[in-house]
Amino acid sequence: MRRRIWNVVRMEWAGMAATPSSLLFLVVIPLILVAQALFLSWIVPRFVNPAILGPTVTDAGALRLLILRQFPFFVLLIPAMVANVFATLGIVEEKVSRTLEPLLATPVRTWELLAGKILSGALPGLVVAWASAALFVAIGYALGWGSQLSSILTATFFLDTLLLMPAVSLLSFILGVIGSSRARDAKEAQNLAVLVIFPIFGLIAVQVTGLVQFTPVRTLLLSLAFLAVDVILLRGAVRLFGRESIVTRWK
């Protein structure tokens, strides 16, 4: 079982290595996100009058803290996008190259195939996201934002990156699988997959408006909610991914 799952993971990675553009994507998008977050944290407090954001924001430091607070959710985007792109490309490629039927004629189980695909997208996605977070924090400290950063590196932050992030990237992957099972080509699958980013934007919006405080308990509950949705959707995905429907309906 493990051997078959790892076989899928290693093959996916070999495929990625043979397509330098996917590696570029894996590295460049996170770097852009990190650079953007750093840039905003640097430029906004410099040029924006804190007073416009209301009475609680009294100085530039408080304004920076407000921006830095968005960062955990910003980081969520990274694994979600990476998992998503790999999921859709991975499955669309199987369809286009007509490898699914030969694959399904081997002893591999459907769920093993899906598990392999999930791991192959989610592992690099999470590694990159964690590396981006570390990079961001390191540069933040180097820029002298230590006091503000230490106030965001809380239990919530760690729950967010270690639990919520994997849950969201799994959701992203599953939706990618479902999307690509309906899509006729890679482009259509990508368009469908972009839909996945919306719930994350929703979370960011909620965070930005400050209507909801993300306490550790709430983050935990949110993660569990995402995991529950994951489980429900995964069942649907496995069914969609049934041998019969792949071979006879995925045209």
């Binding site: 093959m11 495929g15 043979a18 190259s97 039927e101 030969p102 081997t106 189980r109 041998r243």
Partner: protein, 310 residues
């Protein structure tokens, strides 16, 4: 062991919505046999092979492959079969070797690298092992696809149009390979449109069009579909012999064809043949040749399929 049945179906049926693709197929294939599945486009050959390989589930009836039901235990069945799909694909950006090693690693107890190298050599692709599959010609891909189904040395093979798209020499090599696999004890069910190929390879041919129309040896199929006529070539005029033969009770029909050829239908084409020869000689005919009027398998096939149509 010879009569040991390894593939059997009972009332195996598949419908897609209202369309019946396979209707109540009942067959048994013995170990070591090559059975050719012959039928027009859309006859349900691919659908049948997919059901046997546990890729799609039958709507009714059941199949047993190597003692197991492919619908309920597909993965167990996959351990012992090799299925060459109708349009086999590869990861084109990766090498032939990497592609095969990937598929091989799904089987228990198979050393993926060793199996990949062995099959590449067997199919004559060893020198292209490291090339990307995307650079392969259609025929090379077809050979690679066959290498892929042999990785775990299965005892049962389902081959869906194995020689489609191959040049005559490659097709011949592949047929030789199929025969050599049978010699190693493989049981093979192959679908094809190519009648001479079916005849050359198959121990038995199943003529199939949604329903099973006939299953028998190529020779028996021809004979069943057509009465066996004898062609007798004479050195001179046929008229005296023809008149004499028409008097004989065991001659059911006799006519002249062209110059010097008699076409005769006997009650029993084997045991009446010596009598026929001596009667012609008696009537003064000088016989140059007596042979059976062989109708090609194609005629038998077309007549079966057309009977079904009407």
């Amino acid at each position: 062991m010879i009569d040991h049945v390894v593939i059997s179906t009972e009332g195996l049926s598949k419908r897609f919505g209202d369309r019946v693709a396979v209707d109540a197929l009942t067959v048994a294939v013995r170990a070591g046999e090559i059975v050719g599945l012959l039928g027009p486009n859309g006859a349900g050959k691919t659908t049948t092979l997919r059901m046997l390989a546990g890729i799609i589930a039958p709507s009714a009836g059941r199949a047993v492959v190597d003692g197991r039901n492919p619908a309920s235990e597909p993965e167990r069945v996959h351990e012992s079969i090799g299925f060459l799909t109708e349009s086999p694909g590869f990861y084109e950006r990766l090498s032939a070797e990497r592609n095969l090693a990937y598929f091989a690693a799904f089987y228990e107890g198979v050393d993926a690298q060793v199996a990949a190298a062995r099959e590449l050599a067997r199919l004559g692709l060893a020198d292209r092992a490291r090339d990307k599959v995307g650079t392969f010609s259609k025929g090379m891909k077809q050979r690679l696809a066959l290498a892929r189904v042999l990785l775990h040395e299965p005892r049962i093979l389902f081959l869906d149009e194995p020689t489609a798209g191959l040049d005559p020499e490659a097709a011949r090599n592949l047929r030789e390979l199929i025969v050599s696999l049978r010699e190693r004890g493989c049981t093979i069910l192959l679908s094809t449109h190519n009648l001479s190929e079916a005849e050359e390879l198959s121990d038995r041919i199943a003529v199939f069009r949604t329903r099973l129309l006939a299953i028998d040896t190529p020779k028996a199929l021809r004979e069943r579909q057509f009465e066996r006529r004898l062609r007798v070539r004479l050195a001179d005029g046929v008229e005296p012999s023809l008149a004499a033969l028409r008097e004989e009770p065991y001659v059911r029909e006799a006519r002249a064809e062209g110059d010097g050829v008699l076409v005769v239908l006997l009650a029993d084409p084997d045991s009446d043949r010596p009598r026929l020869v001596s009667r012609i000689v008696q009537a003064g005919g000088r016989i140059l040749e007596v042979r059976e009027d062989e109708r090609p398998l194609e005629d038998a096939y077309l007549s079966l399929v057309r009977e079904e149509e009407s």
